[in-house]
Symmetry: C2
Subunit: 202 residues, 2 copies
């Protein structure tokens, strides 16, 4: 678990200010990157006094970690709520991929925020994906115990599915290649591979 | 195609200096990121005079693009040379994944260099993956015409396979989760999914 060391505000005014700082940071990080953004640039963009920042965040790193934790929490909650409505693992995978891509479309800065951890602190990147994978492994192990899936290694399978989902999300978000408006068709193609494999049977 | 605007050196001394600048830049970018690295820091680290940089590179961006083009070229050459030795598409996929992961292990800064294009110029990121995908699509289309694979959309399949390969590479490189020393087992797990699909048949 990535640890947070921020001070969560409690009054309405403080919460507003806190959220303004986070919104401003998201925009500035997206524009100029973490290393290219100063605390002063964030407070200026948020329209708050420079000292206000330190009421909540000991450092720029704390703010970044808070953003990463929040994003991670929101993605999982979003996917989990959609996936819970489905019965079979097959339906759950389909719904999970779709929920992820739609989340990405609504939060285009997502990859920038997560992958920037590679440059800020590799441990954060590692922890982000490992904790995502741990939850995935749980679901896949359950499906395997139920005889719904058949895999040599559930953990490798979790990373395979995360890789697929992340690259389909990138394709749609950045409009890589063709036909990115038809999300159902894209997901049909992915699911056909997950259902039958890629190679024809001899 | 990402365009380069650098001056390629021709004399032995100039080539040595040129390569020293590139090596130094790779290290500095890996440490502090593109935005966090100045041209001065690069020339200092390379042990060359500040003005030397401009003999070859009009800007830091030109240097970064050159590194990205070179990396892209090297990965493809490496994979292509290994894959060419295999007959079937199934063997080619297996070999391609393995060659990619081994390349990553020998060039641990690879993800940092490529993904940093998201923060430097999204067009570069887009072009990098689109041109990788175009080549992949060619190979997959050929395999489909030969009846070796069966897919709804070869382009989506290219991104699926790129996603799998990239995340397996990340898992091994950053030691995400367990059992990352046994590359053959990891690739066996991936290939089982590509051969049979993930879900059991009713």
């Amino acid at each position: 678990m990535i640890e947070s060391d921020i001070k969560i505000p409690t009054t309405r005014n403080a919460i507003t200010t806190f959220n303004m700082i986070i919104e401003a940071a998201l925009e500035k990080f997206y524009e100029g990157g973490y290393h290219g953004t100063t605390i002063q640039a964030i407070t200026q963009h948020a329209g708050v006094a420079a000292g206000t920042f330190y009421l909540y965040f000991p450092s720029k790193m704390s703010l970044y970690k808070h953003i990463l934790i929040t994003l991670s929490h929101n993605i999982r909650k979003e996917i989990a709520s959609k996936v819970a409505l489905k019965e079979t693992r097959l339906e759950k995978e389909r719904e999970g991929i779709k929920a992820f891509v739609q989340y990405v479309q609504q939060n285009p800065q997502m990859y920038n925020v997560i992958w920037e951890s590679l440059y800020i602190d590799r441990g954060l990147f590692k922890e982000y994906y490992e904790s995502f994978a741990r939850r995935y492994v749980k679901g896949l192990s359950h499906a395997q115990a139920q005889g719904e899936i058949d895999t040599l290694d559930v953990e490798v399978t979790a990373y395979v599915l995360m890789g697929i989902t992340n690259f389909i999300g990138l394709k749609v978000l950045l409009d890589l290649g063709e036909n990115n408006e038809d999300l159902e068709h894209i997901i049909d193609s992915v699911m056909m591979l997950l259902e039958r494999g890629l190679f024809t049977r001899k």
